[in-house]
């Protein structure tokens, strides 16, 4: 072993390492840092919308538009993707019993593109919205910001393709020969599925970004109707990438729940085969539904029906995951430690979000909900409710293995209650706001619409509860990683029984894997 584990290791040893666990730490810490940065933006947005009438917190709409754009981009591409990659980096090589990722240097390069892309997005602070629909992003979006957005997204896109290639090769080619693919743990299956999806989906958006850049420079007119192009083409290219991307964000969180739920239920998983089947199904069907974002762009009836069927077809596979979780918990001796609480909370909110999604996909109802706060509430129920809960559960689960110390169950409980309460209060209320007709992405609303004012204020109070719960999370992560009680590394939660543990996360350069 070249690097022997030192306790504590100096930070540059982690920063300049290509070891999968170290890169995993870097990804996870970067992702969590951006989570708190984007969370501050969310708090500003919700506090601003508490009061109708201009200029209470943010004095002009341009700033507001920039804030919600960067909030969205950061949460999606600088929190959700890096944290999934980070946990994947730590666990996938252990799960397939290989010494590292297939291409360690490529792995480190893919990580180091994230801070660069993130810096471009934050320094540019574009106002194009994260979807950056043409022709606004081409003919109207102001100067260097929109171009920095294009380059930042380009870098993040390449990073995500590189890390996906790495995961696919690691899982398919470097897997231990005695380990059949069907017995690879489901979290690694989720990373395999999303990596294959990224490799298929992401190049389309990468191409669209280049076309947008040349359109902005005026040397082409792909999406510019005033130069003979068609904005609808951009929407197709964009959603062809980013509807599958929804599953790319979601499936690792589901995979993390598969790690946590059987252990804390003290029962074997109900069905490995149905979990694998549901992942692969979602990976394929995810590509059949992008048009449901575009029902109102003048799409003809037949196309709408095709995309509605494609969208509905994804529901049974998602339902199979929920069934698998419930059947695993059924009759188990469940221990509701923090990881289990967050995982179960995430399943409940996943179910609510999915039920709302069925309503969105029904064509006539989409014309009521599309582009309103209903959609904001719906996708945040996935992003906060499912992905956020899954990731937070995993952070608590990995905490003793990474730091060697135990978090405080009491403060984790405060975090859980605040986060669940806040999520329900903000995002369920936003569904109602959508039914009242409030469009998304608006800086201000007329004070005479009293129902909008009331619902916005309820949502803002929920957002403050949610924000406060994350302040508790941040404080307890920092405090207990330094001052927590030393964890019992053989069984931090006292579950007993023979379960595998990712103990190699603590001692990446030696020791047994636990699998």
């Amino acid at each position: 072993m070249v690097l022997e584990l030192q306790k504590p290791r100096p930070v540059w040893q982690i920063m300049f390492s290509t070891h999968h666990t170290d890169v995993g730490y870097l990804y996870t810490i970067t992702g969590l840092t951006f989570l708190f940065m984007a969370g501050v933006l969310a708090m500003i947005i919700r506090t601003h919308l508490f009061f109708p009438g201009q200029g209470v917190l943010i004095s002009d709409s341009a700033t507001f538009n920039r804030i919600f754009t960067v909030h969205g981009l950061t949460m999606l591409f600088l929190f959700a993707l890096p944290v999934a990659n980070g946990i994947g980096n730590i666990l996938v090589p252990i799960m397939v019993r290989y010494k590292d990722m297939a291409y360690p240097k490529l792995n480190a390069i893919a990580f180091w593109m994230n801070p660069v892309g993130g810096a471009l997005l934050w320094l540019g602070f574009a106002d194009t919205t994260w979807v950056s629909y043409a022709p606004y992003s081409i003919i109207r979006a102001p100067g260097p910001a929109a171009d920095m957005f294009i380059f930042g997204m380009k870098i993040l896109g390449i990073s995500s393709i590189l890390s996906s290639i790495n995961f696919v090769v690691t899982i398919l080619k470097c897997k231990h020969p005695d380990l059949p693919l069907r017995r690879v743990p489901l979290f690694a299956w989720s990373m395999l599925t999303v990596s294959l999806m990224t490799i298929v989906a992401m190049p389309t958006y990468a191409a669209a970004l280049i076309m947008m850049l040349t359109d902005r420079l005026g040397i082409s007119g792909f999406f510019n109707p005033f130069a003979g192009g068609d904005p609808i083409a951009y929407l197709h290219l964009f959603w062809f990438t980013f509807h599958p991307e929804v599953y790319i964000f979601l499936l690792p969180a589901i995979g993390m729940m598969y790690e946590i739920i059987p252990r804390f239920s003290r029962k074997p998983l109900y069905s490995q085969a149905s979990g694998v089947f549901a992942f692969v199904m979602l990976g394929i069907i995810g590509f059949a539904s992008w048009g449901h974002h575009m029902y109102s762009t003048g799409m003809d009836f037949t196309t709408k029906v095709v995309f509605m069927i494609g969208t509905l077809a994804a529901v049974p596979a998602s339902g199979m995951h929920v069934f698998n979780f419930l059947a695993t918990m059924w009759g188990g001796r469940i221990k509701f430690a923090a990881p289990m609480k967050f995982a179960v909370g995430g399943i409940a909110l996943f179910f609510s979000a999915g039920a709302g999604g069925v309503l969105n996909s029904a064509m006539p109802l989409d014309f009521i909900s599309h582009g309103t706060y209903w959609v904001v509430g719906h996708m945040h129920l996935f992003l906060t409710g499912t992905i956020g809960f899954g990731f937070v559960a995993m952070v608590y689960y990995m905490f003793p293995y990474i730091t060697g110390r135990m978090y405080s169950e009491k403060w984790a409980n405060v975090h859980f209650i605040g986060m669940f309460w806040g999520t329900v209060q903000v995002f369920f209320t936003q569904h109602l706001l959508g039914l009242e007709g409030m469009p998304r992405r608006i800086y201000d609303y007329p004070p005479e619409f009293t129902s909008w004012t009331q619902l916005n204020q309820i949502a803002s109070v929920g957002a403050w509860i949610l924000g406060a719960s994350f302040a508790v999370f941040l404080a307890s992560l920092i405090y207990y990683s330094a001052k927590g009680k030393p964890a019992n590394m053989d069984d931090p939660w006292g579950l007993g029984g023979k379960y595998y543990y990712p103990v190699a996360a603590k001692n990446p350069h030696g020791g047994h894997s636990g699998y």
């Binding site: 709409s61 341009a62 538009n65 106002d127 919205t129 629909y133 043409a134 022709p135 606004y136 003919i139 109207r140 979006a141 109707p225 005033f226 192009g229 068609d230 904005p231 609808i232 069905s271 490995q272 085969a273 149905s274 109102s296 762009t297 003048g298 009836f301 709408k304 029906v305 509605m308 069927i309 509905l312 077809a313 529901v315 049974p316 339902g319 199979m320 069934f323 059947a327 069925v358 996909s361 029904a362 064509m363 006539p364 109802l365 014309f367 009521i368 599309h370 582009g371 309103t372 009242e436 007709g437 469009p439 998304r440 992405r441 608006i442 800086y443 201000d444 609303y445 007329p446």
Partner: protein
């Protein structure tokens, strides 16, 4: 490992619900898109950041649209610059205004009153204030 009947029953119930949702929305959407033959055409143009309207008889209006109760109207929706979305939430009129395309939506108001018109697709600086009003008047003729 292994399936049992409970999972198949669960999946079958989910699929049955989805088939119901799909068939029902097919029927409703088919009815919604059936524009009455006598519908009067109103041209709607979105631009940063207001709506303008042109009636079949050539009358032009900006921001406020007057229509008569009990008549059917079909909107021809254009955009002069970026994407907008023409929306009257109370009458579920919602269709994007896409530059280079002409989109259609129709409605037949049966209650007199004043209703908000808004833009539901992000269109820049004053997107939030791209509002108008629809005035449905009693037909006196």
């Amino acid at each position: 490992m292994g399936h049992d009947t409970a999972e198949w029953v669960f999946v079958a119930i989910v699929i049955a619900v989805l088939i119901y949702v799909g068939v029902d929305s097919w029927i409703v959407q088919k009815a919604v898109e059936d524009v009455p033959a006598d519908a009067e055409v109103i041209k709607v143009t979105g631009q940063q950041w207001f709506w303008s309207f042109e009636h079949a008889d050539g009358t032009k209006e900006i921001s406020t649209l007057h229509v008569k109760k009990g008549h059917a109207y079909v909107f021809e929706i254009y955009s002069r610059d970026v994407m907008h979305s023409f929306n009257i939430p109370d009458w579920v009129v919602f269709e994007d205004a896409v530059p280079g395309h002409t989109n259609h939506a129709w409605f037949a108001p049966d209650t007199a009153g004043t209703y908000p018109i808004q833009c539901r697709e992000y269109c820049g600086l004053l997107h939030y204030n791209m509002r108008g009003s629809l005035v449905v008047e009693d037909d006196k003729s």
